[in-house]
Symmetry: C2
Subunit: 456 residues, 2 copies
């Protein structure tokens, strides 16, 4: 039975010293003891944190980071970015997606993410014909995960329409489409493929209110219920101001309002973005106990806008973070700019902190651990018996962190400097990153470069 | 005569191939040739960029990064942060400042900054008594620079008042104060100490309209004119909304408006922040040819607000970047979030790009090179004969940059991922960073840790 003896570790809300962490052969934590006196166990220098869940990503988009920053005639918006993205993905094969997914997963692990929600919508061959093996793209994602070792919740996407109310899909969306029967088969395949591996899980992702009808949304959840009534449901919602206007024009209600009306949104749900909510939507979403899936670097890159964090937290709302388009792949930068965006909006400091949790960095880190774990439907995000042994070792001896004591080290982690302090990373009891480098970094990086050099 | 043969280099507005860079014994570039055919010269793999000027920083604040993120009773603002900062600096000695300055300068070089404007206001012993050597703190900054090798424009600060119109200074400000005679002596010392070293320069920094009267501002510039009528003048202005209200209450004009009325603001001037400007101020500042000194990570950390970049650029405005309080020390993150903040404000993409310079990352990088060099009053920021040999070598073979070609590599540099791609850094013809590490990283880091551990 592997056993670690951590110099310091985040246990519950506290940075504890000399923490013994017992891990069973399956990769679960089975014992945690603070102030461990005796020797024994592998000594781990530094600060051990629960690995951060990355609750939202589209793997293939990693390869177009930086390629959509050139102004074409006209104004640049989310929608012109989406056109670039559709052109980019038009040529991708399952082999390409496997290579890109492995690269971004390796980057995630080196940055301190140990689990991922893959919101997977690129299903079919160019033109929209299913592959001979219809789940070939899903299989590519799972193959990548075998190389990287990241924990994964695979969320096959239902996409049927090109706009609110069942508008016909556009040409660029044909690789995403299923009817409910086809989606049901993909979902069954996904459930099967993720069964029996404690580092894998599944759920569904009706893409957005733009891409499924209300009926399809309800039926997709029913398909999932038949397999696992607790498995997660993710959906993009209210990312863009235009989306809110279009939704109002279609049904007279705002997107989050409409979603909360037509679906039984509860703790298994994760609403990605939820950027544009009025006060009532904000409070209703918070009270639903669903998770808001915030993706600050992507939401900034795409000019989406700022989430209403203060009111959402006041109402008891839960959130986690996602790297989404992977223009940034760092939980530290993601949380830093979640808070900084709020400060720029409110013209004050320490927006996420409150009297009970006065350390801003610590509060953000813990909230994202809890919300991320809930959204991924897996026992991660904490160092406690019953949780997976997903651990990140921070070098808290770095100059940037040297001045901080206790919880303040999490403030320094988020708000002091730009060097990656992650030294070692364990997923499900197995070390994947040592001395800041994933074991497969070179091989995966070379395969990735071959793909992107061919694509551009 | 040292000679480099760069695989790729940013020459003018273009990424050129096989660039021969000749450097004389003084550290100046004396020759640049593209498509160099013959062998000879030290081969440099990767992409060579002009080093980025960091036009604004307060070295000692590096050591409190992350320590002011804890909520105290009441609302957290710039002003409560300033109280924490005053308490923090109360105990610093010149030895402390030397160690902290060396640390932050090493971090800057490793991140790709090759020159710095040190806006230096911590002058005297605790309580406000001058040191036996009155310029002891300035000397500490210059000592640090001897260790790090960064190019430095030392800007001694004139600070006489605690608020607009000559209000008396507060207790926490006593270490900053000079009368004009004392300031004149410090300025003469600074001019002397920076003479004859081509990597050093000097200017002045009247702290802000809160800290000097209009008369003192004009007289400080006259003192500088007597030494060098082209040397730079830096001033904090319009950082906080409250500052604008206080200024209006005092003189009936907004801070930038007032400054432009009372001083002959021109190309030698650098207005730090200039966050809160109305349309007329924005256009007047742009037309003055002064540089706006933007510090996006600090301005976000302090909840200052967003600079009006689109109108400023439309009016031909010049800007550079500074890491200011050093909560972030990376030109990449600084430029990324300069643009991202704009996108979040305007709810659109590619705000800094225009028809003539459509690549957002390239445009931001080049503008910050030019504006930074102007603000620091030194021949840096370009790879051209007559400029200092301040060079940064980027590993453009990294997966994150592999897909980009030509100018798009600067888009990828700014908008793709979080790994530091800086491999080698040269200042004034001398390599200071190799394989991503400054030669003095260990020694400087250990000295820094001893200081901060004593302080907290």
């Amino acid at each position: 039975m592997p056993e670690l003896l951590a110099e310091r570790a985040l246990v519950g809300h506290e940075i504890a010293s000399r923490v013994r962490i017992e891990i069973d052969g399956r990769g679960d934590i089975v014992g945690v003891a603070r102030d461990a006196a005796e020797a024994g166990g592998e000594p781990v220098r530094g600060l051990v944190l629960p690995g951060m869940p990355n609750l939202h990503g589209h793997a293939f988009q990693r390869a177009m980071a930086g390629l959509a920053e050139r102004l074409e005639p006209g104004e640049a918006s989310f929608w012109t970015w989406r056109d670039v993205m559709y052109r980019f993905l038009a040529r991708l094969t399952p082999d390409d997606v496997r290579a890109i997914a492995a690269q971004v997963q390796v980057e995630m692990l080196e940055a301190g993410y140990t689990s991922l929600g893959e919101f997977h919508y690129l299903h079919h061959a160019p033109g929209g014909r299913p592959y001979d093996e219809p789940a070939a793209m899903s299989a590519a994602i799972l193959d990548a995960r075998r190389t990287s070792g990241i924990g994964l919740t695979l969320l096959p996407v239902l996409y049927t329409s090109g706009g609110f109310g069942g508008a016909p899909p556009a040409e660029g969306q044909r690789r995403f489409l299923h009817d409910l029967d086809g989606f049901g088969r993909l979902l069954a395949w996904t459930a099967d493929a993720t069964r029996d591996d404690p580092d894998l899980a599944f759920g569904i992702a009706p893409h957005s209110l733009r891409a499924v009808t209300d009926d399809e949304l309800v039926q997709a959840v029913a398909l999932l219920d038949a397999l696992d009534p607790a498995a997660p449901v993710h959906i993009h919602v209210a990312e863009q101001a235009r989306e809110v206007r279009d939704c109002l024009a279609w049904c007279g209600r705002r997107p989050v309002e409409h979603l909360l009306d037509v679906a039984e949104v509860g703790p298994r749900w994760c609403l990605i973005h939820a950027t544009h909510m009025d006060e009532e939507e904000t409070v209703r979403l918070a009270r639903s106990a669903a998770v808001a899936g915030l993706c600050p670097t992507t939401e900034a890159n795409l000019g989406d806008g700022l989430f209403n964090l203060p009111e959402f937290l006041s109402a008891g709302g839960r959130f986690g973070i996602g790297s989404d388009s992977h223009v940034g792949v760092s939980p530290i930068e993601e949380l830093r700019w979640l808070e900084y965006g709020q400060r720029l909006g409110a013209l004050r400091r320490l927006v996420a902190a409150d009297e009970r949790q006065p350390h801003t960095g610590a509060r953000l880190w813990r909230a994202a651990l809890e919300g991320g774990a809930q959204a991924l439907g897996r026992p991660v995000g904490r160092i406690a018996p019953g949780a997976r042994a997903d651990l990140v070792v921070i070098d808290d001896d770095l100059p940037a962190l040297a001045a901080a004591r206790g919880e303040a080290v999490l403030d320094a982690l988020v708000f002091s400097g730009n060097q990656n302090p992650v030294r070692r990373v364990m997923v499900g009891g197995r070390w994947r990153v040592a001395d800041g480098r994933h074991a497969a970094r070179e091989v995966v990086g070379e395969a990735y470069q071959r793909v992107v050099r061919r694509l551009v």
